[in-house]
């Protein structure tokens, strides 16, 4: 028997055979890929004449359990952009903290700009388009590490020219921009409705703020009817050059349920 200290506490070679050194490889596949746990559902947004309207409900689900019902999923950035988060709430909170540090960095930059130099201020200011690109790179980087941030995100605000900006990015770093956008269930249920009002940027540029808000509210209603992970309380934000107006305790209005009275049985029955 081998009495050397190195062999203490190990299975005896003469009894169990030589130790299987293949276990020594510690460079096996890394499995960091998680899955979302506490999740938010759709985010929807549509451009209009002077800006963008964006909305998301206040629910964070735990599987099918409607666990947290006052989770605000629209976050403002420097009072000039709004970011709507679908997907994992813990990753949303991580991104929220990251973005607030980014916003503090922005105040350092403006510190060094003379106050009468508005042109410079406008150019150096991190607008929604910049923010979206930043998030796209970040999410792509994380998916490439096989450790994705499990979110679908809409970014609303204005671009470098002060025109309305709306774009999405998902957990793979895939990005789109369009006159209207929706994530999750919204891409199937809300997107077709919004396209009826604004298929292109040109059409969106004809929409008034009131019209855009009405369309979004209508979409939130459809989502509440048909998305089993949704809530009738939601947040809605209007982003324009002037800034962000955010309401976080909106209640769905004028729902249609009374027709249930006329529904009897499932076919031939009428009592």
């Amino acid at each position: 028997m081998d009495h050397r200290p190195q062999a203490w506490g190990r299975p005896r070679d003469d009894v169990y055979g030589a130790y299987d050194a293949s276990y020594l490889h510690d460079s096996g596949p890394k499995t960091a890929t998680q899955s979302p746990v506490v999740t938010g559902t759709s985010v929807i947004g549509i451009k209009f004449k002077d800006g963008v309207v964006i909305a998301a409900d206040n629910l964070a689900s735990y599987g099918s359990l409607a666990r947290f019902n006052n989770v605000k999923r629209l976050r403002t950035f420097l009072n000039s952009s709004v970011i709507g988060f679908g997907g994992d709430v813990s990753d949303m909170q991580y991104l929220d903290r990251l973005l607030s540090e980014l916003a503090i960095d922005e105040t350092y930059e403006t510190d060094d700009t003379p106050e009468d130099d508005e042109e410079t201020t406008k150019k150096t200011h991190l607008n929604a388009a910049n923010l979206h690109k930043y998030l796209q790179k970040l999410l792509y980087q994380r998916r490439s590490k096989f450790d994705p941030l499990w979110n679908q995100i809409l970014v609303a605000g204005t671009d470098g020219e002060g025109k309305p900006f709306l774009a999405s990015v998902d957990l793979r770093g895939t990005a789109f921009s369009s006159a209207s956008l929706a994530t999750g269930f919204g891409s199937a249920l809300a997107q077709p409705i919004m396209r009826r009002y604004a298929e292109t940027d040109e059409q969106a540029a004809k929409l008034t703020r009131e019209e855009a808000v009405a369309v979004v509210k209508e979409c939130m209603k459809v989502l509440f009817y048909r998305d089993a992970r949704s809530l009738d309380r939601y947040s809605i934000a209007v982003v324009t050059k002037a800034g962000v107006e955010l309401a976080e305790e909106e209640q769905l209005e004028k729902q249609s349920w009374a027709f249930a009275e006329r529904i009897r049985g499932y076919g031939t029955q009428n009592v």
Partner: protein, 229 residues
């Protein structure tokens, strides 16, 4: 015996399969909750710890102190949640010494969340943080599996909680008197214990107010009627 080839070789050369270890782990199939009330906050828990269907401990204390008047309720893996609570207890002690001021419930919640979020793929820990401090009074934070942080007026957790969502929502009142809040916690946990096979044993509570931490104990053989501590 099948060992699989996952896991890593620890320094002493013994092969450890973490997945296999985790599978046999002691779990706090649990009913826990914390509620705010007029003068502070109350934590409550059952006392059952199981490995599969076997009750490994029938008088577990799932209410863990991390600072004078900041406590947590643990659910999930016993080992994981104990390790996390130990880390936070150390950090809060350090905070107190280094900054010469008491940590707030927020401080605790922030550290708890960081640990749970950063190690989300290794931990199974569902925690409720409840604390009292001079500035903010009684507060409750919930940290579910993925490591998100939720401020709540009351929180329920563990496998037993799924049976009492309706009961709690219907009976919850803001700003209750202490006696009413104790009763709310007790009646809720009784229901959870009644319907959840993984919850049972005694009901433990901790009341956190300006006066400090006060423990309660209620036993099943007296139908949880008599306060024993």
């Amino acid at each position: 015996m099948e060992f699989g080839n996952s896991g890593s070789l620890s320094e002493d050369g013994i092969h450890l399969d973490m997945d296999r270890l985790k599978k046999g782990e002691v779990n706090l199939g649990t009913s826990i909750m914390a509620v705010t009330f007029k003068d502070g906050v109350i934590l409550g828990a059952d006392s059952r710890t199981t490995t599969g269907a076997y009750i490994a401990n029938r008088v577990t204390d799932k209410l863990t102190q991390v600072h004078d008047t900041i406590w947590c309720c643990r659910s999930g893996s016993a080992a994981d949640t104990q390790a996390v609570a130990d880390i936070v207890q150390y950090q809060l002690g350090l905070f107190h010494m280094m900054n010469g001021k008491l940590p707030t419930t927020q401080t605790a919640a922030a550290i708890f969340q960081e640990v749970c979020y950063a190690n989300k793929d290794r931990l199974s820990a569902g925690l409720i943080i409840a604390g009292w401090d001079e500035r903010h009074g009684g507060q409750v934070y919930s940290i579910p599996l993925g490591g998100s942080l939720h401020k709540q007026s009351y929180a329920i957790g563990g496998s037993g909680s799924t049976y009492i969502y309706g009961y709690c929502d219907a009976n919850w009142k803001e700003g209750m008197e202490e006696a009413d809040a104790v009763n709310f916690v007790k009646e809720s946990l009784k229901e959870a214990i009644r319907w959840d096979g993984s919850s049972g044993g005694v009901i433990r509570m901790v009341v956190l107010t300006a006066k400090g931490a006060d423990r309660h104990l209620y036993l099943p053989d007296t139908d949880y009627k008599v306060r024993h501590q």
